[in-house]
Amino acid sequence: MKNRKNQERDTIRLTVNDVLQEFEIGDQRYQVAACDTLAKTLRETLGLSGTKVGCNQGACGSCTVLLDGIPILSCMTLTVECDGKQITTIEGLADPATGELDEIQQTFIDGTAFQCGFCTPGIIMASRALLNRNSLPTETDIKDALSGHFCRCISHYQVVEALQTITEKKKK
């Protein structure tokens, strides 16, 4: 019965890019509805539009964010399920104090590892998760980790190359 009470709470809390956010449950613009996806909450309620929605069907990877460090599809995740969790989006990768970009962001700039850039935030978030769990990924590891990400311009070769330069640097 304890749980029941918990489920009836009318607010949820999630930490987005190290900032604690508390939302009422409801269908007003500033609230979170039970049917709201995390992608919608991030983009429309919090204004974090760096997370892109390509297909909204969980098939293209562009909405990927980190949930407690694990890459997830934010268009297929309900915000209410994220109560108590840590979310990291593309806006949260750079060092908040110095503004220094994440090494992946920098290597994507250096190697022009994008064309239209719409898939880039999702690919960078998935790459961050990969490097967090495997600091020296092989080419195959990289391709496997990104296999759910659709890039129509075909920047794949430059993405893989850019990520490999990070590995190469670390080996040295």
């Binding site: 098939a59 989006t89 994507f108 064309q115 850039g117 296999s147 794949h156 070769y157």
Partner: protein, 757 residues
């Protein structure tokens, strides 16, 4: 002669100007943009391929919470798209599954969507037609009263009074009579793939007065929402602003339907309205590739000379098309660039059918025509046992030779010799070792058979249409380029900054561009046909040179020297040879003033570019699966502007309905009910990171007479040779002439006799 090593930026990899915004999520795409008081528009769509609306009741939807307007064919503005203008924004008649029935604007997208369910419609279903040959029969269902036989007029002056819709030259009967080998048949490229940029199309429209419309949108060509749509909407003053564009590949040059829906709803509500298509709508109610069927003959001589090309090209637009006549014109031109021949007789027919409309897709007519015709041509090469690399090298249009281009005029190529590039590609690929003859595999290992193929494509649109630009020198030694150029992924905005920085000898970070906005920029035709490098490049370079000339004229008195004796570097003006005795721009221009130059590019269709593509594939004869192992492209770009951007454009051959339309990409149309069955990214197949072929680009840099950097673009052409090259390679691998795109396992196994027809 200047080479890349002499340049500061040209030919060197420099970070894209928008790189930081892209990797940090700050880049603003259309669906990221929110305007005050903005409403959201949604579309009710037809469940039937061909039907009449007998009755429509919108009362329930109008009363729904948050709804501000509901529009149907009864109360929508009388704007018309299509070429010629025949497509109403909403019509009583519906012509494909997904055709628009009604529009709703509401406070939120969710409310608008929910209100769609409350619109009551009674339909009268009509028989539908999906096949071009069926559609032109006398008893076929008719889509438009004004187009009997479902034939859309081709004699529309899209490129002037002589717009190309057929090719007639010499005497084909004579040519066929003198041929040693004649191939005849029907080739079909009708899998209507989707260019499928990741970002679906979207538009925000707002009326600032009864005749003043502003549209924000994701576009490839920033000014098209103004100049293409003006005449379709009764000439309002349209200001068009392009956001960052999440891919286009032709399809988002402009988004006529989303724009008209947003503009109509904005007019009805007096508020800005956003219409962003869902992925399903993107698949089912936006631009597909044209369907292409060629029925005819090709004759060649033993020595590889093409003697005659004769036939009929049936082009399927689906329910309508704005640009099909243009694509037919360019496609016919491109075929002539690839096949030098003295005797031509090709006629075209433009046919509408009851499926989602075709739009603009990279390859623009040429890919469609060549993918249908090459399987016939190759039969003649097979008869003569002629090596296709030698054939293509022999038969592309050489400098000094002529071709009819899209305007119907005969142009003489002043391009360059591409045979060296083709040879280099063949060498890198190892063609001579891998080519074993027609219908012969390169290697066989148990069930796995490897084969190779090649194709060539050319395009003379690199100098199409007009570009204008201003280049403004600011007193703080920065430069602003005013040119109406969007950023859909080519990196062209950054490349233009490089050209101007190089011309004015300024650090690249000091050169920036105005946003792609038709109000604040002069006219630019857009990023189509690979024209960014030559056409837009020429305009900004001329503007920069003009500004520099004016600056030197202004500096005449300050430095007491003639303008032609002056030079400028890093924001200092000085007498040539004495850079240490210079004065800053601000001393010449004045602290509160600017110095602006103007540049204009006039159309030039005399510089065709070419690309060859070599592919190696493996077919598993047990499973029928076709794997793309290796791709080599070979071209000559004169001078590379930005190496990673160029590589990206060439790698793009895999995406945007290119090579993979021969392997697995297709929109699967159920002809029993008119529904496309794979309207999502699970069922519509695409290539993932784990399935990448080895991909190499052989890029030569032979200077070409374009502008001061001697460069020419190739973005448009990279997808086009892919499909026919794969078909050739797969046929060679299995030893049987395969037909039909894409070569899915069922087609291959059927050809091998392993499953029943």
């Amino acid at each position: 002669m200047k080479f890349a090593k002499d340049y500061r930026f040209i030919g060197k990899a420099t970070p894209r100007k928008d790189a930081v915004d892209i990797v940090t999520g700050k880049a603003e795409y259309i669906d990221d943009l929110e305007l005050p008081r903005m409403l959201h528009g949604k579309v009710l769509r037809s469940p039937y391929p061909h039907a009449l609306i007998k009755n429509i009741n919108t009362t329930g939807a109008e009363k729904f919470r948050g709804v501000k307007a509901v529009l149907t064919h009864k109360n929508v503005p009388q704007w018309r798209t299509g070429t010629p203008r025949h497509v109403r924004i909403l019509d009583k008649k519906l012509r494909f599954v997904g055709d628009a029935v009604a529009l709703v604007a509401a406070e939120t997208a969710q409310m608008a969507k929910a209100a769609l369910d409350l619109i009551e419609v009674t339909y009268e279903q009509l028989p539908a037609v999906y096949d071009v040959a069926e559609a032109i029969k006398s008893d076929a269902p008719q889509l438009y009263d004004e187009f009997p036989g479902n034939l859309i007029p081709l004699d529309i002056p899209v490129f002037g009074p002589q717009t190309l819709s057929s090719v007639k030259l010499g005497d084909v009967e004579k040519g066929l009579g003198a041929s040693d080998y004649i191939a005849e048949g029907t080739g079909s490229y009708e899998n209507i793939p989707n260019p499928l940029p990741l970002e679906p199309p979207g538009v925000i429209a707002e009326w600032s007065g009864p005749n003043s419309l502003t549209v924000w949108s994701a576009t490839q060509s920033a000014s098209w929402h103004r100049f293409i749509m003006l005449s379709k909407m009764g000439f309002p003053d349209i200001r068009t602003i392009s956001t960052q564009c999440g891919g286009s590949f032709g399809s988002k040059n402009y988004s006529a339907q989303p724009m008209l829906y947003a503009a109509a709803l904005a007019k009805a509500t007096g508020r800005p309205v956003k219409v962003c298509f869902s992925k399903e709508e993107h698949f089912g109610a936006f631009a597909l590739r044209l369907g292409s069927r060629f029925c005819g003959k090709v004759g060649i001589k033993k020595d590889g000379t093409v003697m005659a090309v004769q036939g009929e090209w049936l082009v399927d637009t689906g329910a309508f098309s704005d640009m099909a006549q243009a694509q037919v014109a360019v496609g016919l031109g491109e075929l002539q660039l690839m096949l030098r021949c003295a005797n031509w007789d090709i006629k075209s027919k433009l046919v509408c059918t009851n499926r989602n409309a075709s739009g603009i897709v990279r390859g623009f007519g040429g890919q469609e025509l060549e993918s249908a015709l090459l399987p016939i041509l190759t039969q003649a090469l097979e008869q003569g046992n002629i090596d296709p690399v030698a054939f293509f090298k022999q038969n592309y249009v050489k400098p000094g030779e002529g071709y009819y281009w899209r305007d119907g005029n005969r142009w003489v190529s002043r391009s360059k010799d591409y045979s060296k590039a083709f040879e280099r590609g063949a060498q890198t690929f190892g063609w001579n070792d891998k080519w074993k003859g027609w219908l012969k595999p390169t290697s066989v290992k148990e069930a796995k058979r490897v084969g190779v193929g090649v194709s060539v494509h050319g395009n003379a649109d690199v100098g199409e249409d007009v570009s204008e630009a201003y280049v403004r020198l600011n007193p703080d030694a920065t430069v602003t380029i005013h040119a109406c150029v969007a950023e859909p992924g080519m990196g062209q905005r950054s490349s233009l900054c490089k050209m101007v920085a190089e011309t004015l000898k300024l650090p690249l970070e000091r050169v920036n561009m105005t946003p792609p906005d038709s109000l604040i920029n002069p006219f630019d035709f857009g990023l189509v046909g690979s024209r960014g490098t030559y056409a837009v490049g020429s305009a900004v370079i001329s503007a920069a040179e003009d500004a520099k000339e004016k600056l030197f004229k202004m500096a005449e008195d300050v430095l007491e020297a003639a303008p032609h004796d002056l030079d400028s570097k890093d924001g200092m003006v000085f007498v040539k040879g004495t850079p240490d005795k210079g004065v800053p721009w601000r001393s010449v221009i004045g602290l509160m003033q600017t110095c602006t130059g103007f540049g204009r590019f006039e159309p030039d269709y005399s510089l065709p570019n070419f690309i060859a593509m070599f592919v190696e594939i493996e077919v598993d004869t047990e499973t029928g699966k076709l794997d793309l192992l290796r791709v080599v492209t070979a071209t000559d770009v004169g001078q590379i502007i930005d190496p990673p951007s160029l590589a990206g454009q060439l790698h793009g051959a895999i995406g945007s309905a290119g090579i993979d339309t021969a392997i697995f990409e297709e929109s699967v149309l159920d002809t029993s009910n008119g529904h496309i069955m794979n309207l999502n990214m699970m069922d519509y197949k695409w290539r993932s990171f784990t399935e990448l072929p080895r991909f190499e680009n052989e890029i030569l840099e032979t200077p070409i007479q374009t502008h001061r950097f001697k460069a020419i673009g190739v973005g448009e052409v990279s997808t086009s040779p892919g499909p026919s090259a794969v078909l050739m390679a797969a046929s060679n691998a299995v030893g049987i002439r395969l037909e039909g795109y894409p070569l899915t396992p069922d087609k291959i196994l059927r050809a091998l006799g392993k499953i029943n027809p």
